[in-house]
Amino acid sequence: MPVYHGMHKPSRVKKDDSMAKSLPASMQSNLPAIVMRRAPWIAAAFTAILPAGIIAPTAAAAEATHAAPTFRLPEKTDALLDRYCYRCHDEDEQKGDIRLDNLAGLEIPKRLDLLNRMQEQVYFQHMPPKRKKQPSEAERKAILAVISTELGIHHASTLEGKLQKPEFGNYVDHKKLFSGEYKDVPGFTYDRRWLISEYIFNAKFQRMLENRAQLGRRKNRIAVVGGSKIQNLSLANPFLLPNVSGVRYYANEDLTGGHLSSMLTNAQKTSEYITGDLVKRKKSQYLPAINEIMALEDGHHATLASRREFLENFVAKFCADLYGNKHESLLPTFTPVKLKEVKALAEGEKYKKAPIHVAQNMLKGLDGDRTVYQFLLDPHHESKSDDEFRKLCERTWFFFGDHERKIQARMTLLRDYMPEFREHAIKDNGRKIKPLVYAPLDDAEMAVVRASIIKHRRKGDRYTEVIEKCMTEWEQAFEQERIAAGPPSDKLLSDLVHQLCVQILERSPDTAEANEYLTLSKAYVTKLGNIKAIQKLIQTFILSSEFSYRQEFGTGAADEHGRRMLSPRDASYAIAYALTDQSPDEELLRAAESGRLKTRGDYKREVLRLLNKRDTNYLIDPVLADKNYPDNSTNTAIRKLRFFREFFGYPAALGVFKDEKRFGGDRLGNATSRLLNETDRIVEYILENDQSVFEELLTTEKFFVYHDGDNERMQAASDRIKRIYAHFKDLDWKNFKKEDLLEHRDLLKEVKMRSVDPDQLDARNRQGDTLKLFKKSMTTITARLDKGQKEAAPYDLYRGYGNDFMSGYNISKFFNIRMDNWDYATTQPAKVAHRKGLLTHPAWLIAHAKNTETDPIHRGKWVREKLLAGTIPDVPITVDAVIPEDHNKTLRDRLASATEVKSCWKCHEQMNPLGYAFESYDDFGRFRTEESLEYPDNLITKSPDKGTLLTDTRDIYKTLPVNSKGHLKGTGDETLDGDVADAVDLVERLAKSRRVRQSIIRHAFRYFMGRNEFLSDSKTMIDAEQAYVENGGSFDAVIVSLLTSDSFIYRKTIEN
């Protein structure tokens, strides 16, 4: 009996041989025992902030809490709290509504909640406040020990869980991590399973179901992997990642009942899709055992389907031929349906008849269109009057046996729309409507059909009754045949088990496992029949935990530190999933199977190969795909690009609900989609160059603005517009008459102005006739080139329906570019005024803004946490953060009045001075020197709510000058820290900071490892930084360094 199916059995190691022994002796002796026992990885994190052992429960504390049935603070601890805490949190004063001197008297849930809050405050050294007297390290340790013990007794501590979350990663001491003091501590990751991400979920189902997607890239269609769409199948993805800026995918999530419930239905739908669609479409190419098991039944179904189709099409003719003169006498008595009479309209009442296309759809929905059009195309019925034709149809439907209500509804349509139906049939002229030609089955089949009809037809039967009696007879006979054939052989079922295991779990079953599944399959077949049994077996494989978890276990002999290397198979998946969402490619699998994934060099070879691979196109953003946005792919390893997407968090710009009126133009959604896509392209461009990547991302002056990356195509588009302009600019085109266009026929035929065809001067669309459209186009063309512009932006010539040349032309508004005066850069990326790096890109600025205002706090918080490896405590629950309204103040001033008071500034000074620098940009990311005070009483000019392509719909309000001065503190470099003038000044300093480089590397570590760093990862961090520097700022070098580090390669067995 196998204990592990595809899961590596961890070998036993000595109980105490865990993180503790990896640490320096001085640390081991002081490690917090209770924390080590429950979650060893936390122990290292604890040591990062506090001197080791600070929260280990003391014997006295343990005794005190265990001895008493109710909680009682040890006297010494009570004295400490009295010294440091009670002054603000006792009976007399309860700052923040917190009282600590009555802990013993609280009900258990309340006490545990308060103790958890205390534990965090003391552990993170948020309390006592910095300006107050601080406890010594030993005193802090004593307090934490008591708290930890009491929480441990009730299994109620929440700190360990928090410390595993990405947002708490920075609490590991940055200086220690990079100081070198811990670089000799051997790195490792614990044996683990890692719940699949939303992306891997999609990739797994796409692989399993052999789903191929295509996407546009610069007008070409290319095959892509990724995305959530599977044709004809809708799945609920239960593995969605949190919608936050920063590293989102961590290995600390468990499969819950919620996941399992969703997977139950996903499995059911997938099994039905496989058996009902895929195996039929792909025939023997896909899970051939299913077709083999179902061969007899499928054959029966095909025979039944062809007999039914024949009868439904030709039963009348067949019966007429079969019965000759007797046929009419066997038919039932025709009874026409009654139609509701049309009443005269009341006086003054208006009536607009629904148009013919509505009636056509109705007829189709009623399954009546085929009969009607077949008869209309039939020369035998050509001379029939409308009444005769209607009667013909009605009799046909009646004798066939259609439901009375259907006939009524069809006849109503024939009553009201007969001329239109005739006209449609004539117009179609056989293009779409094909006459139905009698096509008998083969002789043997025809004999069966004939015999059955003779057997079952009774006088007065409608045809459907005859057909159903025949079908029932045949179905029963086939069923008997299948029963006589017996269940599928063990061989076939074993083949099925094997094929499903490979298709779903990507491996062969071992012998014992195969036998178990065979037994299960036989039981399913007995109870459910073949098809349901196959479906159930598919569901069983999909619901295995192995499907939902990635596995990363060490194998082989442990080294002197108790570490074992990842098993080759697990390593192949770990590497593949580090860089992509897909399973290992063939080469990687071969390496694992052939023993070429066992050394650091092997890892390096494969990682480099995947990084350099360019033969796979990955869909970048499923949200953009949902919006049918083209150009949404990359051929670089998708997770490399995605790291920076998630780190910077700019994709969130799509989800910030914005007002088109304030934007100044329409189609904001298209413009934001393009903005996001072009940000991706900048990142891709920098990653492709792979030099000084972090510095470039922070300070690049190369931007894409309304450009698809193909300089030649953009130049050609501009040249076309310039040519039109040059041709007409000196002519009086504003006063052209339509005939005047004919004088320019050759040019117009060549340049193809939108909907302007000189050969169809009378044509028109909803925007106007040919002449009007020509003038509309010329208006925008002129605006693009009549102010000395050298090139013209290639958006369409006027705003209309249908596909744009490139959607999202209004992206220019984010960059303060006027549509009526845009000197377009055909060669991009190119410099854009007032922009430097991603933090000044509108996508990042919008993503870190509110609906109608900027957000200096969160912009500053982002810089503090992501670039400076800083920490900001959670907002205290007692704080109801509201920015006061004041019609005569800038947002910064209003914010200052709320956050720069003493009690708030402790935290806000970590954020606001950084965020203020971005006040040079509004909440759409537009550069500004004046802030618009958008209150009704400050309104100066009301603009129209709906604009044209060239106008701006923004209302004009009073303004105040923007103050973008800020302050940088925390780089650890006194030449960089200090006052900053604005965002550009800030990012230039940040890009020079070593701490910023290290901070990005820390986030990269978390992203690729799926966990927070420990001090034992110090060498991994230092090596990654060194690799970056030595390779000219190569992010590929960072990835190679991380994925060949001890932290990635080596695993340890986790203790209970």
Binding site: Y4, T412, K536, S545, T1053
Partner: protein, 460 residues
Amino acid sequence: MNSRRNFLKTSALGAGAMALAPSFNQLFAASGSTGIPKRFIFIRKSSGIRPLEMALRDFSDKDKALDEKKQPLEVDLDKHELPKWLRGLDAHKENMTILQGLSAKMSENVHYSFSSVMGCFKSNRNTLSAIKRTTIDFELAKLFPSPFGHVELSFAGGRSGIVSGYSAPAPQTRNYCYADPDTARSELFKAVLNPDAVNSDNDMLSFLKTQEGLKVGGIRGHEKRRQETQIESIHAIRERNKKLITLAGSLARHLPELDPVHANGGANASTPEKQAAMTDVLIAALKAGLTNVVTYTIDDLGTPITGLPGNETDRVGIHPLGHDEAFGGVPAWKTREQIRISHVNQIKTIVEQLKQTPEGNGSMFDNTMIMYFPENGETHHGIGLESPSLIMAGNNCNLDIAGRYIRLPVLGVEGHKTLGNWYTTLLNAHGNPMKHYGDLDLEMARKKLDQTGAIHQFIS
């Protein structure tokens, strides 16, 4: 190790937990709630409700002027005559609220709103990634757990079977729904009608439990706990299935009978027949205690309509009717009115059936709210300026709105309320203290007008 209770919690609140409401596997033996639950029925209609259609015909001149000018207004319904199409509910005026003036611009409008009208976000047509949050019905379902948690019924698109719905149990997750009465009945009462299907699920779950159990032996620490959680989850679903089977007797008492015309999707059933049958299933599910929250899309622009008075032998389309294009010689407005009357007939049936069913010291209706509203605002091509709604609520309703015609301040002025305020009110009044549900209105934001929170005057 996760307890059963924790499993149910994560099942009920987890990302995909409720995505599967139509599936038998989605049943939860969530008997944790005590006392009499509150029930909510959301009835979505298409093609808008024009504010004037809801206006009272015998308003005083002063009230009429206020109403037409969209000024705040409140009158008692018992002193007025209801519009013709609402008169089926004359006997229940004391339970009725006509609510005018709510705006819905933060949701998708024009022809379709998809999930957004119940989630207050822009839906980017009907794309999954645009589903920004759990819809209001699922939020309420969390507060009042039941075996099915939530049930969605829909006639959208004239489909049949189990198809994708509009409610969202979580962000980026689409619910499934029952698209014809026969399917709804078979699935909701599966424990009675098809216990073999349940048993075959349990065979699979038993196997999985054993297989996963074998893996526990060789692992430790967090991985062991993970594995135990998985096993516990499987076990809990099995137990839930078992419980449903034991409930079969009770379910059988409430099993609704359907006319054979509804078999196999009911292609030949008329619209009034379909609606009546679906309403019967809805009521039966409530009475059987299978759910406390139902979302019922009574039509959308693709729902074929047949058998209405005046158009008895026609098939009519709601979309053409919205464009004033008519069928069978009957002016479009009259057919539209008949459609609304058919809806009111369903509401009347629900109200009267539940009033006849004792519960506590009163009836089931005392603890029920029915909300009937347009999915897309104030006209066929609504832009969300208004979302006229009809609410029927029993005597124990947590809101103080009954028996009144209420017109709230219009969009863009002080005191205006959005759909988000309305949903926040529902949540706050029933135990979810959420500060504000849904996206904010940008016009209100632009004008710096307060727009967050519940409509406090409604909370009793």
